[in-house]
Amino acid sequence: MEATYAQLAWIVPLAPLIAFLVLLAIGRQVNRHSAAVGVAATLVSFIFAVLVFVERLGAGTAYAWQDWDWLTFGGTPIGFGYEVNNLNALMLVIVSGVSLLVNLYSAGYMKGDPRYHVFFGYVALFTFSMLGLVLSSNLLELYVFWELVGVCSFLLIGFWYHKPEAKAAAKKAFIVTRIGDAGLLIAILILFWQAPYHDLSFTNLANAVAEGMIAPGILTLTAILIFVGAVGKSGQFPLHVWLPDAMEGPTPISALIHAATMVAAGVYLVARTFFIFEESAAALTVVAVVGAFTALFAATVGVAQTDIKRVLAYSTVSQLGYMMMALGVGAQVAAVFHLTTHAFFKALLFLAAGSVIHAVGKQDVGELGGLGRKMKVTAWTFGIGALALAGLFPLSGFWSKDAILTAALHKHAGYFMVGLVAAFFTAFYMARLFFLVFAGKPRSAYGHEPHESPAVMTVPLVILAALAVVSGFIYTPFNSWLGDWLTGAPAAEHANWTVILLSNLAALLGIGLGWLMYGKRSLDAEAVAARMGWLHKLVKNKYYIDELYRAVIVKPVKALGDLLHLADRFVVDGVVKLVAGGALFIGRVGTRMQNGQLQGYGLVSLLGLVLLMALLAGRRFFHVG
């Protein structure tokens, strides 16, 4: 089979771009129908993505089109093109699929917002950028889209810009991810310098690395710098602080950008440039350790958060840590697999949380409760998502987490233990969240009787719930289809019953404890928290990371900024004012002279003449020139 649809892969990102341009041009006029534009564009994308994906199932070599020279530095052209391989065909389906569902959901969620069309425009731009990022055939092109998704994230977090928190969160997200982006940029520059023919395309880089044309030290450095970029984008410790704050944006955005797609871009980047990481054991260890630490760290923070979306945000950070850990232990397939399943169930959880917020208008779990009877679909789908995230057999999260844990155990028992403990905490906070929101009685008066969300919102929930259940079966210990397909080589995946049993046990323990404390209430959560004392306080305050950054980085930088501001105000502005004042003074004097008195003019001319003659005489007298 020839690559018929792969040649048309450019349509996938093009459709949302057109939607964005249309909404930009006539959004105000089609305001109420802008959702239809967004849905239609992502539907086209999704259909083509599925066609490309199905075609890729027939294997074959990757199709790449990179004939267009975008920039020329000296004699070195930088191409702009796209490449379709198995990894990004899968990513295309995930991104366009989730985007389609989110567009559909937003049609209900954002109803009545005065900037309805702007919202869909931004979402379309984001979808375009993300699809472009996935299709990019060289690193510089990827970097362009990498920054574009960052901009979209910024715009959408700050969508409700009248809220000061949203503004602050948008700025924080932009600045913190920028730190990581700098790392990625340096890595690209190093590769540009080192790669043969200065060709940054992935194929060329992979060949160069495979043939050992780049020194090992440089490779380690490059790998770590690329990882720094991934750390910023994927919210890994220590740059994770922006992701929980990003929850100030509309909930569908949290589902699309900050759970399913953009934050997974870091994982995708590492997976895409994995040939560099494979050459450097040190870089792999860094990735694995940072990932494992983030997984555990964020999971513990999630336990004590009270905002429904923030719990999910920390959960995202933690799960991304899992993926990074999987990459670090060399299990590329497991990481991509977890990325896939996570995209489905985390988008589901966010959308379900959005459904709750839409119905009640509150998002503090202390004020929610008893919604299970009022919102059956939301409660059921959220429950399925929570179980999938907790990693309970046989839902998708179980299979992907199992794949990661098996690989981790294979590498080092330490990673496995960290993963297991994190899995326990994950199960616990999801149980806590579920029971607090949907079980029991309302803990505060709702403004009006909560009701189930409209069908346009619940249908995506149901679809995602179905995917959260079944998407795990593409890669199980008994069916290694995804692994074979992604790597092109049959993988010998053996069922490790210890891992399966232990991970299920951890999940069940977590859920059980959550049920005891928040469902049945035979264990008083307050008392447990009080018993923990400082530990609870530490976790509740997110390990004071924000405070630490504020004291160590933000304050000194701000002080420096104030200092420079003073210098600007008094030194630079002073010089400018001096120049302006001088011109003004001369102007005043000139005005005074321009008085129409002919005799005055004559006098001035006379003085000028005398001055000239004095100068001439002086020159003659002192023998100058």
């Binding site: 321009q594 008085n595 129409g596 008195q597 002919l598 005799q599 003019y601 004559g602 006098l603 006379l606």
Partner: protein, 103 residues
């Protein structure tokens, strides 16, 4: 005989300075006009002095001063006519009031 030229030149310079002072400081337009005539005649004096006692004595300097006197007469006539017209128009001959150039 040789030393007489500087005396003429000093006299011309004094006359010129008096004329210049008058032209720049007097308020009455007629006096200003007179002062300008004074400056002209100072230069005439220089012409004649150089023509007679200069390094290359020639008749052309004296002819030149004759021309200047003629032209000055014409100029004075025109100047007085303008002054008359101005006086009719504005009712004054004070040069301080004549600041039309400003506007």
């Amino acid at each position: 005989m040789d030393n007489i030229l500087p005396s003429y030149l000093i006299l011309g310079a004094i006359l010129f300075c008096i004329g210049l002072y008058g032209a720049l400081s007097k308020k009455n337009a007629i006096i200003v006009l007179l002062s300008i005539e004074l400056m002209l005649n100072a230069s005439n004096l220089n012409f004649v002095a150089f023509a007679k006692y200069g390094p290359a004595p020639a008749l052309s300097g004296q002819i030149f001063s004759l021309f200047t006197i003629t032209v000055a007469a014409a100029e004075a006539a025109v100047g007085v006519a303008i002054l008359l017209a101005l006086f009719r128009n504005r009712g004054t001959s004070d040069v301080v009031e004549m600041d039309h150039l400003k506007h």
